[in-house]
Structures are given as structure tokens and as C-alpha cells.
């Protein structure tokens, strides 16, 4: 029988030391003494700092697992703020009895994803709780990124103006639908994978001309509809989206039709919205398409007025309506 996590793994004693020494440190490439804080060097840029907790169910899903997600999610929060992600922390809350092999697989995915994103996991924590006090494993990651002065405007969208163009990097909703399907045991003719991915390299291609990118946000919980409405309210602008321009995988469309979900409200973990200057849109799209995670980049709409805060959807059948934020809990624990 494979080794299990026990309460003593979280006790701070010998077993805890062993867990950290054997299972975390070598994979995360941590070196130097095990101190209470990682001491990091930073140039004189602004620092972006974010944190997120991951409680997804199921832990393993087509296209990733909770570990990969915990790295991508935090890397993306930093990236869409215009920052270059550098360091992550990783804190684990593990239920007694959790399978050590599964923990290893999760930690290995975190290490792989951190390496390909070019970030380092430099500090962490492990707590083990009694059976039934948490659902197998929860992970928190916090991240630090360096933000150069010419990208400070990106997270607030302060330079957005009428005529700006809206770009997304691929079809939204794959993550939410993959999780739902995994939970319900649904299968599709064309297998669907979560879009879970670190977008920092893609973002670097986009901000080559920092002043051309006016706003970025990743399309996580609440999906495109939420991000657009938050932006409209934050900047007091009217946003018009063309439904027919928003790409969707057939499986996502199909499941949404059957279950009555709005695909524009579904979460992704590797998709972003960017608002860019109209005259730079083509060049940005071209550069995005050179990155693996930007191949599906398309224009989906525009900032049509700088006055009223609202989001208008030109439906693919020719009608027009407001695109509102989703309300209530559509699908719990998808990240």
C-alpha cells in the first residue's frame, strides 16, 4: 500500500522535516538554509504581489491538476497586471490519509509548471488536518512579480479610450466544462482539455510596446461576462462584444446548450482579455499568435463609448442585448 499523509507529517517534528526535505525541496529547487523567510533580491522596479487559494475538485483533470493550477493561477494574476512573475510561495493544507504518491504527482506538476514559466517557488508551508477537516488537499500560492513603470496602467485600465479593441487569446470556458464533465463522468466526441496554462510568456509578446496595451485581466471565475462588466464599471465605458467573434469549442457549446449555462460566464484558467490601441491591434495579434497560448487570439469587440458603464452583446443572430454578470453559484470549486 502506498504511503499516506499522517497528522505527524504536519507536526513540525521529524516526519514534517522529512516530508519537506524529500518531497518539496528537491522538486522546487530550493537551496540554502531552511529559514522562516526567503530573502530575495529585487531591482528598483515596482513589485506586484498576489495570492490565491486552490480547492478544486477533482484534484486531477484532463489538462492538469491542482498543483499545475496553483502555479498557473498565480503566475497569470501577476502577468495580466503587467508584471514579470519571479517568485512563488506554496502552502499546503493536507487531509490526514492523503496518498503520498498523489502528493508527489501534484508537487512534480508544480515544479514543471514553475520551471516552464520561469518562476521559482522559494518558500512554503505544510499543515496536516484530521480526516474530514478538509477535502484531501488545498493549496495556497502567493507570487511576487516585477513591474516596470511603463506597465503600471495595465491592471486598472486607466488609459482605455473609445475605439480600443478587445482581444482574447482563445476559446473561453474549456476549464469549467472540463471540470464539470470530469465530475459528472461526461465524455465528448472530441476530448476536451482544461485550458490551464501560464500566460507570462504570451503577455511578454503583447507588451513589447507597453503604451499600446491598455488593460489585461485573466478570465477566471465569472468568465468573460464578469471581466467585461467589471471593466465597464471601473472605467465608466460602454463595451460592445460580437457574439459571433467569440470562439467556442463545440463541446463547450454543446454542454452549455444542454445544461443552460452561458459560455461567456464560464471560467478559464489560461485565457485573458486585453484591451489595446486600435492601430496596434493587428501587430499585437500577430505577436500573440507566435506563442503557443496565443494561437487562437482574436478580436471580439470594442470600447464603443467613454460615457455609460454597460456591456452590449451583438448576438450572433443579429439581435442586441445587455451582457450581465452571472449571479449565484454556477459551479462550485473549479479552481
Amino acid at each position: 500500500m502506498s504511503e499516506k499523509i499522517t497528522l505527524s507529517h504536519g507536526s513540525g517534528g521529524r516526519q514534517a522535516q522529512k516530508l519537506i526535505r524529500d518531497h518539496f525541496i528537491p522538486r522546487f529547487g530550493m537551496n540554502g538554509p531552511m529559514t522562516d523567510s526567503a530573502i530575495l533580491s529585487a531591482p528598483s522596479w515596482a513589485i506586484a504581489f498576489t495570492t490565491d487559494s486552490y480547492v478544486i475538485d477533482p484534484l486531477f483533470f484532463p489538462g492538469g491538476n491542482i498543483g499545475k493550477l496553483a502555479v498557473c493561477g498565480t503566475v497569470n494574476d501577476l502577468s495580466v497586471s503587467g508584471a514579470a512573475p519571479k517568485y512563488l510561495s506554496a502552502a499546503f493544507i493536507i487531509e490526514e490519509g492523503f496518498d503520498m504518491d498523489e502528493l508527489d504527482e501534484i508537487v512534480a506538476s508544480m515544479a514543471d509548471e514553475a520551471e516552464s514559466a520561469g518562476v521559482r517557488i522559494v518558500t512554503g508551508d505544510t499543515k496536516v488536518v484530521e480526516k474530514g477537516k478538509c477535502d484531501r488537499i488545498f493549496i495556497n500560492t502567493a507570487g511576487v512579480g516585477l513591474l516596470s513603470g511603463d506597465l503600471v496602467h495595465v491592471s486598472s485600465g486607466s488609459t482605455i479610450k473609445e475605439g480600443d479593441v478587445l482581444i482574447i487569446n482563445g476559446p473561453p470556458g474549456d476549464h469549467a466544462v472540463t471540470i464539470l464533465a470530469a465530475r459528472r463522468g461526461l465524455t465528448f466526441d472530441t476530448p476536451l482539455l482544461s485550458d490551464c496554462a501560464s500566460l507570462n510568456h504570451l503577455v511578454r509578446t503583447m507588451v513589447e510596446k507597453p503604451e499600446a496595451v491598455h488593460f489585461m485581466r485573466d478570465l477566471t471565475r465569472g468568465g468573460l461576462a464578469t471581466v467585461l462588466n467589471e471593466l465597464a464599471v471601473m472605467r465608466g465605458c460602454t463595451i460592445t462584444v460580437n457574439e459571433a467573434s467569440v470562439p467556442l469549442h463545440e463541446s463547450v457549446r454543446g454542454l452549455c446548450e444542454i445544461l443552460g449555462f452561458d459560455p461567456l460566464s464560464l471560467a478559464s484558467e489560461g485565457r485573458l482579455l486585453a484591451v489595446v490601441a486600435a492601430d496596434e491591434a493587428e501587430a499585437i495579434l500577430e505577436r500573440m499568435r507566435t506563442d503557443h497560448h496565443g494561437r487562437g487570439a482574436v478580436v471580439i469587440g470594442r470600447i464603443t463609448s467613454g460615457r455609460e458603464a454597460r456591456v452590449i452583446l451583438n448576438s450572433s443572430t443579429g439581435g442586441q442585448r445587455f451582457l450581465d454578470m452571472p449571479s449565484g453559484q454556477m459551479l462550485p470549486r473549479i479552481c
Partner: protein, 361 residues
């Protein structure tokens, strides 16, 4: 996607809009009585495609909206029993009862699970024989056959821990009530999915007794536009009848097998519809031979009669007399985040649809 893309084709829809515009000679009011239609009409922006003379009104077609608060109170009371699991459709979870919603009961520790079908609830019961699983059976002719078939299966397999708290309703009596109360409409966009089961003939009494136009309609934009065109033509010709727009799914006679299942398990009874009151033969009752599955009988609960909320005008909205925006609570005290009436809770509720897609107009 087959059966979807061709019915959402912008050119087809624009063509129908053009034909409607040409044939309009007066003002028209048509009522849809299916929540699926209400949601589709707003989702696809159908009102923006119709000339100003054509008004669409939402009737009592969302099963959640017409479920009385008392039913929710009963569900919540049952959920407080330690050995009972409540299995319900996701739409019900946030519906406010007199005191709390099932969602709030769940947060306080009640075992309440969301299922996609009656059969999934039966599977829950089979997987945990120690627990008593109560399925919240709501809906019209569309969901009632599923409940019926599941009860027949439970009876056959001798499943002893599965129950149904039944609030199934049937649609034609509600349409008749609306007409008897003198609704000022010219015709009905008849519910396509209900008609798949009942057959289009179930609506024959409307042109025959009330002289109103009827089109049994599908749920895509081209379906709804074509149905509106059919209704306008019937009105213009003065020859009301039941036309089947949704011919790819609906026949005159309906699904006879589903009808047989329904009759095997249920019989008609007078039923309370939220906002409309007691409707004669407006609901379905579990027959004597399936009574041991009837949670309403097996687990009697003492629920105080809920006080009527006089400020919420759900009833007038469901009858098409008032628009959601006429309600004093709409978009102020009553929003999708804090629903007061059931019409605001369900995604297919008229207030919810109106709030989501048009309230800023």
C-alpha cells in the same frame, strides 16, 4: 452544431424579421408560457428584432416561479431530519422560502444535493441505503414523465429509501385560467417541450373556445421569429388555429409512451400555483398505488401557512398583466443576488430574464 446553427443563422433570422415587418398591420400581443422561451427571447435579443407593434409577454411558464413558498418550506423542514437527503434541481437551491432557502439550509448542515434528473436521485438512494433520499419533483409535462418512470423503476427494484416531494403541474389549465381572467392577448407562443409530451392537440381548446392564435414553438431564434410570423398571419386572416412551428419535435398526438407513464403514476388534482392561486386540475397527484414513495404523506411536516407578500406582484407578472419593472421591489429590494419572489430566482423567471438582459434599458 446540428439543429442549433441553422436556427441561429443571422440571414434566416433577418429574413423572418423582414417578413414580420411587412405583414404587421396593427398592434399584437403574444404570450409565451414557457420559461425556456422567456430566456431564449431575451438571450437572443428577439425584442430588438421585432417591430414596435409586436409585444411579447411572459406568462407562468417557469416551474420554479410557480412553486409555492410552502413547498420550499416543506423541503427545508424535511432537510432538517438527520437521515434525509434532499435531491433537487439546481434552480431550486436559491428559491426563498418563508424563512430560508434550501441553499441556506445546506450551508447550515442539511444534506441537500443538486441532481440533473429524477434518475440521478434514485441512484443516490441506491448508493446509500441508510439514508432516505427525497427528490424534489417540480416541473410540467416535461419533467413529470421522468419522475413517473423513476418511481416505476424504484417500485420494480424495491428501492425502499427513495421518496418524491411532488409539485408537478400541467400547463393547459394555467393558460385557460389566464384567458378566463381576461388577459388582453392575441395569441400564445405555445410551449414546445410540453407539446413534445402532450401533443399540439392539447392546445386546441384555445382557438376553439377563445378564438386566439397558437403556434407550438421551438427554442432557437429562427423558431421564435417564425412562430411570431405564424401568429401574425393567423390574426390578420382571422383564422386562429394551433400551428406547429416546432415540427422537428412535436406531433399532434405527442409522446404516447411518456403519457402512459404519467397516467400510470399520477392523476390530476387541483394545485396551488404561486401568484395564481388554486388551479382546477392544474397539478398532478401521485396515485394510491405509488403512495409509499410520496414524501408529502410519509413524512408529514407541520408548516405554518406563509403570509402572503402583498408588495411582490409575481402573480400579475405571471398573468402578463404587469411587467417586471412595474413591481415596486424590482431591481431595488429584489435582484438576482437577493431575490424576494421566485420569478427573480430562476434563470427562466421573467423578472430574472428582464433584469439580466433588459433592466438597464
Amino acid at each position: 452544431m446540428k439543429y442549433v446553427d441553422e436556427y441561429r443563422n443571422e440571414r434566416h433570422v433577418a429574413g423572418l424579421a423582414e417578413m414580420i415587418k411587412r405583414e404587421v398591420t396593427r398592434e399584437y400581443s403574444f404570450m409565451e408560457v414557457c420559461g425556456g422561451h422567456t430566456a431564449a427571447i431575451h438571450r437572443f435579443g428577439i425584442p430588438s428584432l421585432l417591430p414596435g407593434e409586436v409585444k411579447l409577454l411572459s406568462g407562468p411558464g417557469c416551474p420554479v416561479c410557480v412553486t409555492p413558498a410552502r413547498y420550499i418550506d416543506t423541503l427545508v423542514a424535511l432537510a432538517s431530519h438527520m437521515d434525509i437527503t434532499i435531491a433537487l434541481f439546481g434552480d431550486l437551491i436559491r428559491v426563498p422560502g418563508t424563512l430560508i432557502s434550501p441553499g441556506e439550509a445546506k450551508a447550515s448542515g442539511a444534506d441537500i444535493r443538486i441532481v440533473l434528473s429524477a434518475h440521478e436521485a434514485l441512484d443516490l438512494a441506491r448508493s446509500d441505503p441508510q439514508r432516505k433520499v427525497v427528490f424534489a419533483a417540480i416541473g410540467f409535462e416535461t419533467t413529470a414523465p421522468g419522475t413517473a418512470l423513476t418511481l416505476m423503476q424504484a417500485e420494480k427494484d424495491l428501492v425502499r429509501n427513495f421518496y418524491v416531494l411532488n409539485a408537478h403541474k400541467v400547463m393547459p389549465p394555467a393558460m385557460e385560467m389566464i384567458l378566463r381572467q381576461g388577459a388582453r392577448i392575441d395569441g400564445f407562443i405555445c410551449p414546445g417541450h410540453v407539446a413534445v409530451i402532450t401533443g399540439a392537440a392539447a392546445f386546441d381548446f384555445i382557438p376553439q373556445n377563445y378564438g386566439l392564435a397558437c403556434a407550438v414553438t421551438g427554442f432557437e431564434p429562427a423558431d421564435i421569429m417564425l412562430a411570431v410570423l405564424m401568429l401574425i398571419r393567423q390574426v390578420n386572416l382571422g383564422k386562429p388555429r394551433v400551428e406547429i412551428e416546432y415540427a422537428r419535435a412535436v406531433s399532434a398526438g405527442g409522446n404516447t409512451m411518456a403519457g402512459r407513464y404519467m397516467r400510470e403514476v399520477f392523476e390530476p388534482e387541483d394545485a396551488e400555483w404561486r401568484g395564481l392561486g388554486i388551479l382546477e386540475s392544474g397539478g398532478l397527484k401521485i396515485r394510491e398505488c405509488y403512495r409509499r414513495f410520496d414524501a408529502g404523506i410519509v413524512f408529514p411536516v407541520d408548516i405554518p401557512e406563509p403570509e402572503a407578500d402583498i408588495t411582490c406582484i409575481c402573480g400579475d407578472i405571471l398573468r402578463g398583466v404587469s411587467k417586471p419593472s412595474d413591481c415596486p421591489l424590482f431591481a431595488s429590494a429584489c435582484t438576482p443576488d437577493h431575490p424576494q419572489g421566485a420569478c427573480m430566482v430562476s434563470a427562466e423567471g421573467s423578472c430574472h430574464s428582464f433584469f439580466k438582459y433588459c433592466c438597464h434599458e
